[in-house]
């Protein structure tokens, strides 16, 4: 049985007060391209409803609806008659899923790993470097990886995202 977790709901409200404004009209679901393709299985209004009700298990453990299916197009935010900042709220939920060690799509972890190790999501390979020369493009000096390590160490990024598994 789903229990209402007031703490969870209040945590989200603290980070994003606009959650309070929602009056469950369904405009967001009408505007959402993913909701349409999945016939409502992915459902932004429902995610907000569950957040308002503090249904932590449903959102974080079961991930029903699956908040990782938000394509961040922000149409919901633009159409919402109450200025609820849905995508931001979804981000907070994603942050929580990650922090609490619940499973999340592998591709995010892969990109995070690349940033931690190379300061870039996509690093320059030798063929690309050659191609850049061909096109007359300048050599680029990217970030000093030690700086990035220091900063991401200070925010405990690696630990938070459970890079090496575990909760």
């Amino acid at each position: 049985m789903q229990m209402v977790d007031f703490e969870f709901r209040n945590e989200i409200i603290k980070e994003d007060f606009s959650l309070n404004y929602c009056y469950q009209c369904g405009t967001c679901s009408s505007a959402c391209p993913v909701a349409f393709i999945t016939s409502g299985e992915y459902n932004p209004r429902k995610i907000i409803e569950e957040s308002l009700l503090g249904l932590k298990e449903l959102l974080i453990k079961d991930q029903k609806p699956n908040v990782w299916l938000c394509c961040t197009c922000q149409m919901c935010v633009e159409e919402c008659p109450q200025n609820v900042f849905l995508t931001e709220i979804f981000e907070k939920i994603k942050n929580k899923i990650v922090q609490l060690g619940e499973p999340y799509p592998e591709a995010f972890k892969v990109q995070a790993k690349a940033v931690i190790e190379n300061a870039l999501a996509i690093s320059l390979t030798p063929p690309i470097t050659r191609r850049r020369e061909q096109l007359g493009l300048p050599r680029i000096e990217f970030a000093d990886i030690n700086e990035i390590k220091k900063l991401l160490g200070a925010t405990e990024f690696e630990k938070k995202i459970k890079l090496n598994g575990g909760k």
């Binding site: 009408s30 909701a35 016939s39 409502g40 008659p81």
Partner: protein, 431 residues
């Protein structure tokens, strides 16, 4: 009742202004009823039927119009606007600008010969620009005063010194191009503002496609289409191909309860969309209607039962889920994408005709009139009523009633008008 009591000026000849005028006149007070257009009647004259009784709107209105016209205590000033105001409660001086009608008011008998011959075609505002009128016209067939007007911005005589056909065919010699605008001064004791409302233009809500899709229309346009005196004579046909629509959709709260447009509730849409669906069904019982809503605000007496009847007897499906997206297929059928909140399913449905219930908004010239009268507007540009006594404006002696101070339906406007009339009478009858 003393004969040297000052008169009361009622600005606006819609149902609220008319009711206030009749109330005052019946108790023996003199009323100056000011109306900007050529006929009184306002929005109620544009409606086909009224909820919750589904009575014919003009049938209820017309006797009141006639009464206003012939009542010895009411002086009707049509084509008139208030241009300045001075003085204080009990003793106001108002200057009106009365535009020339170019018709001799005691000669015209509304026979319509001039209309048949006039060569000019102008968008008909009363019919929501769905058809054309002539440059000589009457607002609507049952309009009061029952005489013509010449629209000098579109009349060939005024724009090009040509034509004058109406003058030639009028058997009563009622056309008078020599008429001039008049300035009229009135000395009045109190004022009632009853100037009514405009409707929100949904063109600005891009994703509903109002200006792009011909089969997406507003509720007031739909009202004119199903009205027997409207452009289609009451035979509903849809704009793109004149086919008879069988699947209608009404979308409530278009522009209402919406921080980006009008944060307030328009108060009537939940009821009038049901009403319009019922009328459509009465014309053609093959019609199926879906009404998309956020909440069904049917709070008045008999209103909830009205909605229930709509569901049970008039083939109306009520779907909880506000619509944000309308597309179109290649037959120009609107496609609505919506979430049915009761089942959490997001679907697409095609319809023949989609009607948008848009917000009641203050009239465009409300700001100017507020300045002239020296009264305050609220944050939505409706006239600001006193917090505990909403019919009192911010200036003593000036009262408000009807949709010019807050969106409201017809029964509420009538009650409001009687209230304002009582307060306005007090001013005039004291000391």
């Amino acid at each position: 009742m003393g004969e040297n009591l000052k008169s009361i000026m009622v600005i606006g000849g819609g149902i609220a202004g008319i009711q206030a005028s009749l109330d005052l006149a019946e108790r023996g007070l003199a009323v100056e009823l000011i109306e900007k257009s050529a006929c009184i009647g306002g929005r109620m004259a544009q409606l086909d039927k009224t909820f919750p009784t589904n009575d014919c709107s003009i049938c209820i209105l017309a006797p009141k119009l006639a009464e206003c016209f012939r009542h010895p205590n009411i002086k009707l000033h049509t084509l008139s606007e208030v241009k300045s105001l001075s003085g204080k409660a009990g003793n106001f001086k108002a200057k009106l600008l009365k535009k020339a009608r170019y018709i001799k008011e005691d000669q015209c008998i509304n026979c319509g010969q001039c209309i048949e011959k006039c060569p000019m075609r102008v968008d008909d505002e009363f019919d929501m620009n769905l058809r054309k009128r002539r440059a000589i016209y009457i607002d609507y067939v049952q309009g009061v005063p029952s005489i013509m007007t010449i629209d000098r911005d579109n009349c060939l005589f005024f724009t090009k010194q040509a034509c004058r056909i109406c003058e030639k065919v009028c058997e009563r010699e009622a056309i008078d191009f020599e008429q001039q605008d008049e300035e009229i001064e009135l000395n009045i004791g109190s004022i009632i503002v009853a100037t009514g409302y405009d409707i929100f233009n949904p063109k600005s809500i891009e994703s509903l496609g109002y200006s792009r899709y011909p089969n997406v229309i507003t509720a007031l346009e739909f009202e004119r289409l199903i009205c027997a005196s409207g452009p289609l004579g009451g035979h509903l046909m849809r704009p793109s191909d004149k086919k008879e629509p069988k699947k209608l959709a009404f979308i409530n709260c278009v522009g209402s309860r919406d921080i980006k447009n009008n944060p307030y509730c328009s108060s009537c849409c939940c009821m009038y969309t049901t009403k319009e669906a019922m009328i459509a069904y009465e014309h053609d019982n093959q019609i199926d209607t879906s009404i998309f809503y956020i909440d069904l605000r049917a709070a008045g007496k008999g209103f909830r039962e009205y909605i229930q009847r709509g569901h049970n007897e008039y083939a109306i499906s009520y779907i909880k889920g506000k619509v944000a997206k309308i597309l179109e297929d290649d037959q120009r059928n609107p496609l609505i994408i919506y979430e049915d909140i009761n089942t959490s399913q997001v679907k697409q449905l095609d319809f023949d005709l989609v009607i948008l219930a848009t917000t009641m908004v203050p009239k465009k010239d409300a700001i100017e009139l507020a300045k002239i009268l020296g009264i305050e507007l609220n944050e939505y540009n409706f006239y600001r009523g006193n917090h505990f006594h909403p019919q009192k404006s911010s200036k003593e002696g000036i009262f408000l009633c009807g949709a010019c101070r807050d969106p409201m339906d017809i029964p509420t406007s009538v009650i409001d008008a009687s209230g304002a009339a009582a307060k306005a009478a007090e001013i005039v009858m004291r000391d």
